[in-house]
Symmetry: none
C-alpha cells in the first residue's frame, strides 16, 4: 500500500491575494518520485491555535505530514511550537544546533540576535536537518505511520534540504516502488509547436506520463515511468523517450534537469579552452550575468560591455558612428560590429552581441518593439540573426539572453 | 466582529507538482475588499469522503466557506454531493436550472450529454448563481454564521461570477468593515535585527497586524489595519506605522509595495537629471541588469563594464596594473579605481563598482569568500565600503547588487 502525504504551508502572507505557495510543488515532485501521493494541501496563517489544530488533524489521518515555513527567529514564527503542541511533545534546546547557529553568525560576521536561539529548539526526538543556506534547521520526526517534517520557507533553503536531507530519510521508511524520470531541456521552439511535434508519440503511452513545463525560452519535457524495478522503468523511458529525442534533435540542449543553458555553454567553452565576451544593449547585462551565474566562470568569461548609448558603442566597441547613423543602433550591421568589437576588445575566442527594442517604448515600423539582433563573432567569422519576441520587456530580455546563449551553444557543438 | 473565510479548491490536478490553485487569489482579493479575512486555504482531490470531511470541519469553524471547482458534469466532480452530505441536506433538481441548461445546449448547437443534468441539482435552499460562460451554475447558501458558496473552477467562469453574483450577495450579510494596508520596503538590515528593532512597537498593537517578509537583502514590513471606516483604519496605520518609520529611518527606501530598489534609484536619477555607469566583477552584469530592468532606463543608464579579468580592469577602466598587483583585484583601492575609471569612461554623473569573491572558490584569509568591496564615484568624490555576505554564490551576488543600488540611493537622497 503506497503511503500518502499532506502538506501544510505556513505564513499569513500566503493568505493574501498576491502570493501563492509554490514550495509545495517542489515537495510534491520529490514525494511523487518516492511513490508517495499528496492528498491534501493547506495554507494556514501565523496563528498558533489554528495551526496546532491543523497539524493534529493531519497527523491523525495522513502518513507523512510536511510543514513548510514559520521557522524564522521571530515571535510570529510559530511552527515549532504548534507542531510540538499538536503532538503533545516538548521543544528541547539542541546544544549542537546552538553551536551551529553561533558559528554561522561568526562566519557571516554578524552579531546573533537574541531571538535567533529559538531556531536551535527541536521537537523531542526529532532529528535536525542541516540548512547550509539559512539559519533554520529542518526537523524530521518518525511517527507510527510515517513522519512529520518541518522545512524552512525560503525556496533556496527548502529545495536543497528536500533533495539532500529529506529524500534520503524518507526512502527507507517507504515501500519499494520505483518512479523513474527522464527529462529533455529544450530551447528554440515554442510550447504549442513542441506539443504538436511530440504529441503523436507520447499520447501512445500511458506509462510513462509525459508533461511539458515551460518558462520563457526554456521548455522541459518530463517523462515519468512507474514500475516495480529500475530496469523495467528505464525500459519504458527508452521506449517512449528515444523517438521523442529523435524528433527534437539539437533543440535538446541537455538531459540533465538541473543543467541550465548557461551551464551547457560553460561546459563546452571549458572543454574547448575557448573564452567569450559580450556586448549588450537591450539586455543590459543579463547575458553576462547568466554566463557568470556559476562558480568557475572566470575560466571562460573575459568581459561584458553594456553599451547603452550610441556613443559608448563607438567608444568602447569601435562601432563606426556613421554605421549607427545609417542603419540605426538596432540593425544587423551594428550587431555584427558590436560582436566583432567586443571580441577584439576582450581578445576572446568568441563574442556575443545583443541589440534590440525591449520595450515598452521605442521600435520602428520595420523593427517594432520586441525585435532583437543577435550576433556571434568567432574564429570562423561572424553570424547575425534577427528575431522578434513579443512586447513584454521582461520576456523580450529573457528570450534574447536565452537565444544568444543558444547561438553560442550551436556554434560550439 | 469581522467575518472570516476559508477556501477549498477541489481537483486532483491541483495536487500535482505542476499546478497551483490561483482561483483563490481572485476570491481572496474580493473577500478582503469586503473586510473578510481568509484564514485558511486547502486543496483537496476529487475524493468524496475526504472532501465531505473537509467541508464539515470548515463550516464548523469559519463564517464563510468557499468551494471552488468540481462542478463539472462527470462522476469525478463531487463537490455538490460532498457539500450536501457535509451539511446533511439533500440535492434537489431545479427545474429552472434544467431549462437553463437545455436552452444553453440548444444555443451552442450541441447535444446535451445525459450526465449534464447533474449540474441542475442544487443543495436544498441554496440559490443558483448564473454562469454565462459555462454550464455549471454557482450556488449560494446562507448559514447561521455566514454562507457556503460553490464556484466553478475555470477562471473565466469564476471571475465574473465572483464579481457579479457573489459580492452582491455577500455584502448585505457582512458588517460594514474596512481593511487598509501600509507597507515599508527596507534594505540594509537583516530580518532578525529588523524584528528586534521594531518588535517593541508592533507588539503593542493587535490592530494593525504586522508581518515581515524577507528575500535576500530586501525586507517588507506589512501593516494591516481593520476598522469600521477608512479614516479609522488609516488612523490606526499612522499610530503604529509612524514610530516604526521613525525607527527605520532611511533604511526604508519606499512605501510602495511594488516599487523595487532599482525603481527608486531610477526615479531619483531622473529627478536630478543624473546618469550612472557600472563597473562589475563578481556580480557579472547583474547590477547593470537591475538598473535597466524597467522601460526608460536609457534616461539615466550610460554603460556597464563587466571586467572579469585583471587585464580588462586595466584596459577598459584604467585601473593601474601595479595597484592590482599590490592590493589584489578584491581590495578598496581597486574598487575605487574601478568606479572612477567607469565614471570617466562613461562620462556619467555617478559610477558604481563591485569587486569581490562570490564563491564557491577563491578568497583569502583577510578577504574570505563573500567579501565584496563596493564603491561609488560622483561629483563629491569616491566612497568605498567593504561588506561580507556569507558563502552562497547566488546570495552574495544578489546582496552585492542590492547593496550597490542602496549606496547610490543614499548618495542621491
Amino acid at each position: 500500500m503506497p503511503k500518502n502525504a499532506e502538506i501544510i504551508a505556513i505564513g499569513s502572507e500566503l493568505l493574501t491575494a498576491q502570493r501563492v505557495d509554490t514550495n509545495s510543488l517542489t515537495v510534491t515532485e520529490h514525494l511523487n518520485l518516492l511513490g508517495v501521493e499528496v492528498v491534501r494541501k493547506q495554507v494556514i496563517g501565523d496563528d498558533h491555535e489554528r495551526l496546532t489544530e491543523a497539524i493534529r488533524c493531519a497527523v491523525g489521518r495522513s502518513d507523512i505530514v510536511i510543514l513548510i515555513g514559520g521557522l524564522g527567529p521571530t515571535e510570529d514564527d510559530v511552527t515549532r511550537e504548534a507542531a510540538a503542541a499538536a503532538l503533545g511533545r516538548k521543544l528541547v534546546l539542541s546544544l549542537e544546533q546552538e553551536s551551529v547557529l553561533i558559528s554561522r553568525f561568526r562566519q557571516i560576521n554578524r552579531p546573533m540576535a537574541k531571538n535567533n536561539i529559538r531556531q536551535a529548539y527541536l521537537i523531542e526526538e526529532a532529528e535536525a536537518m542541516p540548512n547550509p543556506f539559512g539559519t533554520a534547521p529542518g526537523q524530521f520526526l518518525s511517527t507510527d505511520r510515517g513522519a512529520l517534517v518541518l522545512l524552512p520557507g525560503p525556496p533556496r533553503e527548502l529545495k536543497p534540504m528536500v533533495e539532500n536531507e529529506l529524500v534520503p530519510r524518507l526512502r527507507p521508511v517507504l515501500p519499494p516502488y520505483v518512479i523513474r524520470v527522464r527529462t529533455f531541456r529544450i530551447t528554440g521552439i515554442g510550447e504549442s509547436d513542441l506539443d504538436t511535434l511530440i504529441a503523436p508519440v507520447y499520447t501512445k503511452f500511458a506509462n510513462p506520463v509525459t508533461t511539458i513545463l515551460s518558462s520563457p525560452g526554456d521548455l522541459l519535457v518530463h517523462l515519468r515511468a512507474q514500475a516495480n524495478s529500475i530496469a523495467e522503468a528505464d525500459a519504458l523511458l527508452r521506449e517512449a523517450g528515444n523517438p521523442i529525442a529523435e524528433l527534437l534533435g539539437d533543440r535538446i540542449y541537455s538531459e540533465d534537469p538541473d543543467e541550465g543553458l548557461e551551464m551547457v555553454v560553460g561546459r563546452l567553452l571549458r572543454k574547448q579552452r575557448a573564452t567569450v565576451a559580450t556586448a549588450e544593449s537591450c539586455t543590459g547585462g543579463l547575458l553576462a550575468g547568466r554566463l557568470t551565474d556559476h562558480g568557475g566562470s572566470s575560466d571562460f568569461f573575459i568581459a561584458g560591455y553594456v553599451t547603452y548609448t550610441n556613443k559608448q558603442k563607438t567608444e568602447i566597441l569601435g562601432v563606426p558612428r556613421d554605421l549607427i547613423e545609417k542603419h540605426s543602433a538596432v540593425s544587423e550591421p551594428v550587431a555584427v560590429a558590436m560582436a566583432e568589437g567586443a571580441r577584439q576588445r576582450a581578445n576572446s575566442t568568441y563574442a556575443l552581441s545583443v541589440t534590440g527594442y525591449a520595450g515598452p517604448d521605442g521600435g520602428t515600423d520595420f523593427n517594432p518593439v520586441g525585435t532583437v539582433y543577435l550576433a556571434i563573432a568567432g574564429p570562423a567569422g561572424t553570424r547575425c540573426v534577427r528575431t522578434r519576441f513579443g512586447v513584454d520587456r521582461y520576456r523580450v530580455r529573457a528570450l534574447a539572453t536565452q537565444s544568444a546563449l543558444d547561438l553560442l551553444r550551436k556554434t560550439l557543438a
